[in-house]
Symmetry: C2
Subunit: 107 residues, 2 copies
DNA sequence: TCGTAATATCGCAATATTACGATGATAAGT
DNA sequence: ACTTATCATCGTAATATTGCGATATTACGA
């Protein structure tokens, strides 16, 4: 009891839920915003900018990364993160398809 | 420890996270899909269609409702649910604004 | 080589979410 | 009045998420 029963849902529903989970924490939204606004790369500036511990930021980054939304590459001892914009667009399209399909109204 | 520190983030980040949370569970995505596909109203058909208990479905409905996404009205002993499409559009716009703003690429 | 900076990971505590049975409330039909 | 149907809520167990300190790991510069 207590665990989401993924097998009960269509792939489409599970996929949208997984995408949404990335955005479902304000720290991750803030990270994505920061990365995109800097245009260039970033590293541990996020720790200073956002104010969470380094361990926590790193954890959020890996959640975002697991969803395929980040590209990261080491430049010396620093790691440069940026958006995987192709994947980002896939996300956008999936969400929009869902939004467009849902337009009922009866009450 | 362990609780999301909402005060650390901008209103915008918190708002997007709150919206995303509605979609971050496949049952809620399935519910929204079902309601919109039926075009008309529904009630406890969701319990049969999705296969979760009535208590659980009701709980998910209230999460969706708290976000302002549902309109419900009792017709006798049955409750008719449908989408609040204005609010739904607001959601869509907020997500899209976020998506559009994030277009960096450096790696 | 040694110390330091940057990042990732482990382990744990605190909190949140998910799911369900039981119970309550309301309305319809008998 | 009694039963049944429909939905909400309460209480609770199971599980997941969040956050951080401590500890690796790797790369750089002195």
């Amino acid at each position: 009891m207590g665990a989401t029963k993924h097998f009960m849902y269509t792939d489409s529903c599970n996929e949208i839920a997984n995408i949404a989970k990335v955005f479902a924490h304000p720290a991750r939204v803030a990270i994505l915003k920061y990365i995109s606004e800097q245009e260039g790369c970033i590293c541990n500036d996020l720790v200073e900018d956002i104010g969470l511990s380094q361990a926590t930021i790193s954890q959020h980054l890996s959640v975002i990364g697991d969803a395929g939304l980040l590209q990261g590459r080491f430049v010396g001892k620093r790691k440069c993160y940026c958006l995987n914009s192709d994947r980002f667009k896939e996300f956008q399209i999936l969400m929009n398809v869902f939004f467009i399909k849902t337009t009922s109204n009866c009450c």
